[in-house]
Amino acid sequence: MTGLLAYFVFFATIATIYAIIVMGLNIQWGFTGLFNAGVVGFYAIGAYACAILTGPARDTLIGGFGMPFLVGLAGAALAAALAGLVVALITLRLSEEYLAIATFGIGLTVQLVALNAAGLTGGANGLYGLPRPFWSLFDSVQAFNLFYLVFVVVIGLLVWALLARLVRSPWGRLLRAIREDDVAARSLGKNPVSVRVQSFVIGSAIMGTAGALYTGYVGFISPIDFIPILTFQIWAMLIVGGSGSLLGGVIGSFVIWLIWTGSGTLLSRLAPPDLQAQSSAVQVVLIGLIIVLTILIRPRGLIGEKSAVSSKK
């Protein structure tokens, strides 16, 4: 039983970190309609910023400043926000499809920079031996894991509270107005480009924060942590959960990550021992099938966005 609990704490921590990224994407896509296909890039920038700020000094590295974790966390949000600002200023005049292609390229570029800027990122070998925040305060790993789950959940709730407030505010209504009809918003004297940039930057900063939380938890990052499939996973979480709904995004994160990892556990128990090596191919099929079915059965996601206008008269 304790084992199951320990695993659940671990699972919930990773799922909550993903839920935070999904919240970042939700503000961009769910509320503003910005198709960010380079989610993993901003997550990576946050993760590396935190690792460089908090990591131990090594001869081969420029970074490794050994700063406290909270500095790393703030630095991660700031670095990702800056990256988001630059990307937004360059790309947000592009319409939907072009924005998707441009951001996809940016996501890949960030990973390639991580792979090649070895002096800063450790290159293919990654950054290792990174300190875990407040590790020394706990005498057992289980206690630390539990603490870290609480820590991640608190950060998640703060992000939630911030976003919930923002989307209820006049600014939030403006986001939705731009999402639904750019021209109409402009005719009312609003500046859609400026609002889009703000939304994109906030979303990016949230993704960067999640990156820092992952770094602090695992203590190691390398470029293969930031492969493009993560962008796809985050999107699956948002769409299955319900884009435009904060709760939906969070539920989607847990559901998709449970399917993604739980199907492996399930198959390893069901498959006969001789077929273990082959059963993983079934896992990938299963994941795809469940996502497709969810979208077919509930096209607006498990929890859809609340209707802003009363459609029933």
Partner: protein
């Protein structure tokens, strides 16, 4: 008659004693393996997984470990660290495995080691991860002696190749390398060792895999006017890059990495351009223990064991089970200590069901054993690394490979030691 009875009683008592620790632990003993069964390395991962299973099946046929049958739980990391981490955590916490095998990529093995294996006090033995960062972490004390790998790191290859470069009289070689943890580790080991040999590496040029052209990389490498080239690549990309190198007038004094010892590469470039080339590869290890493994593989799966790292995975699984048997325990510290003990000095034991049965007898008699595995005899050093023998190959006119120099484990160890000393 009476003395017979006494002997019998003594034997019974002994059997009971040795059965006690086995009764104290839960059966079956579980071994978890995390490999990339799908994703970019899926094609090799499946066979690696089966190599581990073969070892477990053989041990079970020999009566299992400490009187317990061994269960082999294989999980897929999909080539993604977070998925691999989750698999490792569930293997340790829910399935209660005693040891973790894997992963393939260093970028997955490392997070599993630092956030699952070490905190849980569970040894991790990788078949395949070659990154030097594990050695550094172990030297810093960060692995707590729980990290092992049955694949030699690339560092000795770099050191030997630098020695060969000096022998050949090259003064400023260029290095073009595949930008992966394997490629960059080998390239930098070579650079370090070559500098220590008094050579100047004219340029270090990384390339990304599977590009249509490498003209830019090759031009960059040629800019330093190198007198030779160390090409660290996989066959298709390597041939692509080398054709550009030759067409841009690069010298044919080539040094090649292990993966280029492939027909595909030679026929794509043309053997006549490779007459001055030398290359380094893990030497084909021969011996009875290797034959037994390959025979058993053919019988079990009906194919020949040709894929990468199959032998290493088999040895990872087998040495772990020997360590459990030797310590009479599945406790993590005990396994880690005995992993070194069963590969150290002692009576040689070979692979296969019979090898394990023989090991059990020797251990029961209180003797020490030295496991000779599918990769030959090996010893884990203080950082959990193993050294292996190497061969220097050449390419003949007809495109086949020749051997121009062999480096056995002792010679490799001496070269590495000499280089380590030169750093001090």
């Amino acid at each position: 008659m009476r003395s017979h009875f006494r002997k019998l009683a003594a034997a019974l008592a002994l059997a009971l004693c040795s059965a006690l620790p086995a009764a104290a632990q839960d059966c079956p003993i579980r071994i978890g393996a995390i490999l990339s069964l799908t994703g970019s390395l899926g094609s090799v991962g499946e066979a690696i997984g089966e190599a581990g299973k073969l070892a477990v099946d053989e041990v079970n046929a020999a009566g299992g470990v400490n009187g317990c049958q061994v269960e082999y739980l294989l999980r897929d990391d999909q080539g993604q660290p977070s998925v691999g981490l989750d698999a490792a955590k569930s293997l340790v916490e829910i399935d209660r495995v005693s040891v973790l095998l894997g992963a393939i990529q260093s970028g997955i093995s490392m997070p599993i080691l630092t956030s699952v294996a070490i905190p849980s006090g569970i040894p991790q033995v990788s078949c395949c991860s070659t990154a030097p960062s594990f050695t550094t972490l172990a030297a810093e004390g960060g692995t707590e002696g729980l990290w092992f790998r049955t694949i030699p790191t690339v560092r000795p290859q770099g050191i030997i190749m630098a020695e060969k470069a000096r022998e050949m009289g090259y003064e400023n070689p260029a290095v073009i390398y595949v930008n992966s943890d394997y490629g960059s580790s080998l390239a930098h080991a070579f650079e370090e060792a070559a500098t220590a040999q008094g050579l100047t590496v004219s340029s270090m040029v990384p390339y990304q895999q599977e590009q249509s052209s490498y003209r830019a990389e090759v031009s960059t490498a040629l800019r330093g006017k190198p007198d030779s080239l160390f090409l660290i690549a996989f066959p298709a990309d390597g041939a692509n890059a080398l054709r550009e190198w030759l067409s841009l007038g690069g010298p044919q004094t080539l040094m090649l990495s292990n993966a280029l010892r492939a027909e595909e590469f030679v026929s794509a470039v043309g053997p006549k351009y490779l007459s001055q080339a030398i290359g380094i590869d893990n030497s084909q290890i021969e011996g009875e223990s290797v034959d037994i493994f390959e025979q058993a593989w053919s019988t079990a799966y009906g194919t020949s064991p040709d894929g990468p790292a199959l032998h290493n995975m088999y040895d990872a699984a087998m040495s772990v089970m020997l360590a459990m048997q030797a310590g009479g325990s599945v406790d993590g510290q005990s396994i880690a200590e005995n992993l070194r003990a069963v590969t150290g000095e002692g009576t040689p034991v070979l692979t296969g069901t019979e090898g394990f049965a023989q090991a059990k007898e020797l251990l029961a008699a209180g003797e020490k054993i030295a496991y000779h595995g599918a990769t030959g005899a090996f010893t884990f050093d203080e950082f959990g690394d193993v050294a292996g023998p190497y061969v220097i190959y050449s390419v003949k006119e007809d495109g086949s490979f020749g051997e121009v120099d062999t480096w056995d484990t002792a010679r490799v160890d001496a070269a590495v030691q000499a280089f380590n000393d030169s750093l001090k």
